[in-house]
């Protein structure tokens, strides 16, 4: 039986232009065989959620390096819920202090990957969430 090809949206909320990490993760996940869409920088929470729903993705990966993660990551989870799309798994990455991670987990961000994380760790996480 062929496994379903998972769809992943890599998104950059907030205003920072540091997209090296986001682009690397997007491309590396594509190389791993996933369908990957990348939003580009400076996306509002609303536009990310809209794209996620339109593109019918299974995952949204958020990248932020400005320090606005505590405000912006939970907002995206909330908006997904409001739009009956809470089945989409949200994870995040960037310059995120360790002590903020429990808060983000509590707000529904399923995993947070900080600098230096090997791509395999992200792949393992994605595969662990496969629900079929």
């Amino acid at each position: 039986m062929k496994e379903k090809k998972l769809r992943i949206l890599i998104a950059k909320p907030g205003l920072d232009g540091h997209d090296r990490g986001a682009k690397y993760v997007a491309r590396a996940l594509k190389d791993e065989g996933y369908e990957v869409i990348y939003t580009g920088i400076r996306q509002t929470a609303e536009s990310i959620v809209k794209t996620a729903i339109q593109e019918d993705v299974d995952f949204v990966g958020l990248s932020l390096l400005s320090g606005a993660h505590n405000e912006l990551f939970p907002k995206i989870v909330e908006l997904l819920k409001e739009n009956d799309a809470e089945d989409i798994v949200v994870f995040g990455g960037g310059v995120i202090p360790e002590e903020d991670i429990p808060f983000l987990r509590e707000k529904g961000i399923q995993a947070v990957f900080t600098p230096g994380t090997p791509i395999k760790t992200i792949v393992d996480f994605i595969e662990s969430q496969r629900n079929d």
């Binding site: 920072d16 232009g17 540091h18 405000e71 202090p97």
Partner: protein
């Protein structure tokens, strides 16, 4: 010549006998060795591999064309580089305190970090600013914030660098207005605005308007400052962010200089004489870990710029041919793991910048892969510069690595490879065209991807990350921003909007709008007029947004 032939022969013999004897029993660590940017590295360099006959033409002496060895004849024997730590966070009051602290600690110039809403021309009360106010720099909404930021800091005594691009005119206008309030005339102001929009499209992301009007704003500044603020560096053409985005050293040099050429072209097209503005152009480069490659990079960049300015743009003044640059150590080389190791990385990078002849330097703090730096870690970073300056001895002679066979060969290699990129971009019609095609972005991304893959495969070692890792406690004592900052800033702004002469603001914004629609008016005086009446940054940028529209990124993956 005969002498070189003899040396070459001796070299080949050495490879055949002495080297082979060893490598047959003890192979080297790797099949091939490369620099941090993938330039192949030989086992040992020797005189015949570099052309001493071209010494005068390509290397020469410090302070003379083509400036390979430095822009001044005495360099740090005269005066050390400017130690300039990039700082700013939270409110203007807090940043003002940090600046005073840094000046007390022996720093010799200021470098202002603005928050992202300021950099993208949004006021703190804009919806786009949610979560971002005061995070990566100080929040500036109106002239009031700038007055507080420089309170008690005499603007005729410090030089100030401002990392501001799309709204550079507005922040420069505010700085001029603060000067006036302090009784400091425009011709006494010293400093730099980054004002380099092209690398925002390529790598950094804080663009607002499309390329054409952006270039107009920039040439307006060139023209205005050449007449009114003659000591101001009107642009800092930046390779720093290109390198942070993952480019190689060669690409950093090539794309930065190609950007510089685009600005010179635009200014000449707008009717300025090249020698009228070119001596105020400055550059900004990165310093990564491959020490000797970095030194070669700065030397090559100086030579390329001199040749291009002289040959292509016919600059007559030697000041127009000199590439003066600021350096910042490489943020992306810092690791969140074992952060103390970053002190060592920064020390190596500091050496690179100094051996490469930088005019000013920012050293990163050890905790910057985790959060904004604390006061303690900023002090260590500044001390690193002071130790290199006062204790290492490398500042006692100019360009001490000149004549190193390896460094000279690398300098030549970077020179030629970067020139090839520059030619290719010229063939495409210049940098704006190359950016619109996504060519530059794609080249950088491919290099970044290759690098990261090498790290993943363990072919490149990052100490503490993919080798020599340890179990670590989560670091404590990180700098935390007050989450209520935005509220404070919004209140301040509302108050100012009540107090100011709103009719005058309306008129000044309308004048600006009319001028922006024409191409024969310099916008700087109108922007100064608006900021003096306490029109906000967001109001001014919105006027320009309405006239010029906004840039949309072309996504390249």
């Amino acid at each position: 010549m005969e002498e070189f032939k003899k040396i070459k022969k001796a070299h080949d013999q050495w490879e055949e006998t002495t080297v082979k004897k060893v490598t047959s029993r003890f192979p080297e660590r790797k099949e091939t060795f490369v620099t941090g940017s993938d330039i192949p590295v030989e086992r040992a360099y020797y005189p015949a591999s570099f052309d001493e006959e071209k010494w005068n033409e390509e290397i020469g002496f410090p302070g003379e064309y083509p400036f390979t060895r430095g822009v001044q004849p005495t360099m740090y024997r005269g005066r050390f580089w400017t130690m300039r730590q990039y700082a700013g966070f939270g409110t203007a009051e807090e940043s003002n305190k940090r600046y005073k602290y840094l000046l007390e600690q022996g720093q010799t110039g200021l470098s202002v970090a603005f928050d992202l809403p300021t950099q993208i021309g949004y006021d703190s009360d804009d919806n786009m600013s949610i979560g971002e106010v005061g995070k990566v720099g100080v929040a500036i909404d109106t002239l009031k914030d700038m007055e507080i930021l420089f309170d008690g800091i005499p603007l005729d005594k410090v030089s100030t660098s401002m990392t501001i691009n799309a709204p550079a005119s507005v922040l420069l206008a505010m700085y001029i207005a603060v000067g006036e309030k302090q009784g400091v005339s425009r011709d006494q102001l010293r400093g730099t605005i980054q004002n380099d929009i092209l690398k925002e499209y390529i790598a950094r992301g804080t663009y607002i308007f499309p390329p054409e009007p952006s270039m107009r704003l920039i040439t307006d500044i060139f023209e205005f400052c050449s007449q009114e603020v003659p000591k101001w560096n009107t642009i800092s053409i930046s390779g720093y962010h290109i390198r942070e985005a993952g480019s190689t050293a060669v690409q950093e040099v090539a794309f930065t200089i190609a950007d510089g050429m685009e600005y010179v072209n635009a200014a000449v097209k707008a009717g300025l004489d090249v020698d009228q503005f070119a001596d105020r152009l400055s550059f900004f480069f990165n310093a990564h870990n491959d020490l000797l490659e970095e030194v070669a990079k700065y030397r090559a960049a100086r030579r390329i710029w001199a040749v291009i300015m002289k040959e292509r743009f016919k600059a007559r003044s030697s000041k127009s041919q000199m590439l003066r640059f600021h350096t910042q150590t490489g943020g992306s080389t810092l690791t969140a793991q074992q952060p103390d190791n970053n002190i060592v990385r920064v020390a190596i990078q500091t050496l690179a910048a100094v051996l490469g002849g930088t005019q000013s330097l920012h050293t990163n703090s050890k905790d910057e892969a985790l959060a904004l730096p604390t006061e303690d870690s900023v002090r260590i970073a500044l001390r690193t510069q002071q130790i290199v300056a006062h204790e290492s001895g490398v500042a006692n002679t100019v360009d001490p690595l000149a004549g190193s066979y390896y460094v000279e060969e690398l300098t030549n290699k970077i020179y030629h490879e970067a020139m090839a990129y520059i030619e290719k971009i010229q063939e495409m019609g210049g940098m704006v065209k190359a950016i619109e095609k996504g060519y530059v972005q794609k080249e950088i991304q491919d290099a970044a991807y290759r690098y990261q893959k090498d790290v993943e495969k363990g072919e490149r070692i990052v100490v503490g990350v993919n080798k020599f890792a340890v179990k670590e406690e989560a670091p404590k004592d990180l700098l935390k921003m007050d989450p209520t900052l935005r509220e404070i800033q919004i209140k301040k702004l509302a108050h100012i909007k009540q107090e100011r002469d709103n009719e005058a603001v309306r008129r000044s914004l309308q004048n600006l709008e009319e001028a922006a629609k024409r191409s024969d008016v310099n916008l700087m005086p109108l922007i100064i007029e608006a900021v003096k009446g306490y029109a906000s940054l967001g109001e001014i940028c919105n006027v320009l947004r309405d006239v010029y529209g906004e840039y949309r990124e072309s996504i390249v993956l």
